[in-house]
């Protein structure tokens, strides 16, 4: 269970959002500039709220009243960025292995093989990120985040940098990941069609506020279908 109650001012934009997310895939849904990515960064610890609290299960990640602010590298929250952000100086294998090395965990060849198989990236391991297509890059980014054994996986518009064909190529992997049921996800998108396939519950944002939260019915009849 993820519980978010935060305020954050960025220039002229003010975010004031409160929601809870149980397991499954929680969609943060809203138009550009509604504060979706800001919320994702606040949860991951890449931004610090001005006020409020963020808790994951029984772990308080941030609480301004109690002065708690767990740094991002101790939050165990996987993050798949819009642009992948693979490390250009490392091979795919080293990118995938990065989280394990940084936390000093022992090698886990079984887990590594399972996730590379799930995402179908086994044959890319010795390549450099530059040599990957957009879809391959995002699959490696998902694998890299999963291999650190996150307690929560954030995906910020993971398909936005891909063209139509590659979008269709990656969604099935994410659905498979959801149905494996291993890790709860927060999925940021402005595209209702995409969210209908992956999300289990929806938090709808507009202008930095939560205007509704509930089930997939919140995705119906929205302007953003036109964008998709």
């Amino acid at each position: 269970m993820l519980a978010v109650d935060v305020e954050k001012r960025l220039g002229t934009f003010t975010l004031a959002a409160r929601f809870e997310a149980a397991g499954g895939v929680t969609a943060l849904f809203g138009p550009s500039g509604s504060g979706k990515t800001t919320i994702a960064n606040l949860i991951a610890g890449l931004l610090t709220p001005d006020h409020g609290s963020i808790a994951l299960d029984d772990t308080v990640l941030f609480d301004s009243a109690k002065g708690i602010d767990v740094p991002p590298h101790r939050r165990s929250i996987g993050y798949v960025f819009q642009e992948g952000r693979l490390f250009p100086h490392l091979s795919v294998r080293q990118n995938l292995d990065y989280g394990r090395r940084m936390s000093g965990r022992a090698r886990d060849p079984g887990g590594f093989d399972r996730i590379t198989a799930l995402l179908d990236i086994g044959r890319l391991l010795d390549r450099r990120p530059r040599m990957l297509s957009g879809g391959e890059r995002q699959r490696v980014a998902v694998g890299r985040a999963l291999l650190m054994h996150p307690r929560l996986l954030i995906l910020d518009e993971p398909l936005a940098s891909l063209d139509g064909g590659h979008k269709r190529e990656i969604l099935p992997y994410l659905v498979r990941l959801r149905d494996d049921g291993g890790v709860p996800m927060v999925y940021v998108s402005h595209t209702a069609a995409e969210l209908r396939r992956i999300a289990t519950n929806v938090v709808r944002l507009e202008g930095g506020r939560v205007i509704a939260s509930g089930g997939l019915e919140l995705l119906e009849k929205t302007d953003s279908d036109a964008i998709a």
Binding site: A44, G45, L46, P71, P72, H73, R74, R75, S76, I77, G78, Y79, F81, E83, R85, F87, P88, H89, Y98, G99, M102, S103, D126, R127, R128, R130, M131, R144, A145, M148
Partner: protein
């Protein structure tokens, strides 16, 4: 060997030793100052930036003189180092290395700073979400990505150190076997009748060393660059 006299060999060996020591000792400071200038905002940043670049625009003789009055045996820093740490710079090859490091420092800091500024900070955020604390992010992401700039800085500093003349000769004089580098030796040979041949030989050596450093840096930079651009 190669028709060089022992005195000429000594000058070459000294030049290389001084340039290597100057560059090696300047490097950690170069990375630290480059990082401060690229990443941090603090009071007096412009002053620090100016100080670092000063040796580039000052006449080398002035830099040498400033080193002499501060790091000489009677200078405040020199006296302190001599008394408490037993380190003496004046009229020693170590002093020549200090002068070369100071003269090469702005050339080292600049490319390192530019490389650090060019790094996509979002990659460092990504590393943090993968469990890397700030020190690990620096070592595993920031430094490797800045490597081409660091190599450029090292080569420029080394080349400057190899050719340094004015600050060195002002600070630690021109003592054969101790502070007489290739440049100083060429200057000395040109002052004595019949010294042209020896000077000419050292000039050729200086050109060979400079070209060698350039080629080595090109090769290193290409290797470092290849890591980002392909397999």
């Amino acid at each position: 060997m190669f028709g060089l006299s022992p005195a000429e060999w000594t000058a070459i060996e000294l030049s290389l030793r001084i340039a290597v020591v100057a560059t090696v000792f300047a490097l950690p400071f170069g990375v630290a100052i480059g990082w401060l200038l690229a990443r941090r905002n603090f009071w007096g940043k412009a002053v620090l930036d100016g100080l670092v670049h000063l040796p580039l625009v000052l006449p080398p003789v002035v830099t040498g003189y400033l080193l002499l009055i501060s790091f000489g045996r009677k200078g405040p820093i020199g006296a302190f180092l001599d008394e408490y740490l037993g380190i003496v710079f004046s009229f020693r090859w170590t002093g020549a290395a200090l002068a070369c490091a100071v003269m090469g420092f702005p050339l080292m800091v600049r490319p390192i700073r530019l490389a650090l500024e060019a790094i996509d900070r979002r990659l460092e955020d990504a590393a943090a979400t993968l469990g890397a604390g700030p020190a690990l992010v620096f070592v595993s992401i920031t430094l490797p990505l800045a490597l081409p700039g660091i190599i450029a800085g090292v080569v420029l500093c080394f080349a400057r150190a190899l050719g340094e003349f004015g600050a060195t000769i002002t600070f630690v004089s021109n003592i054969p076997g101790e502070t007489q580098t290739i440049s100083a030796a060429i200057y000395t040979f040109l002052q004595v009748p019949g010294g042209d041949a020896a000077a000419g030989r050292l000039v050729v050596i200086a050109i060979v060393l400079a070209l060698g450093a350039l080629i080595a840096s090109e090769w290193l930079a290409r290797r470092a660059g290849a890591r980002f651009h392909g397999e």
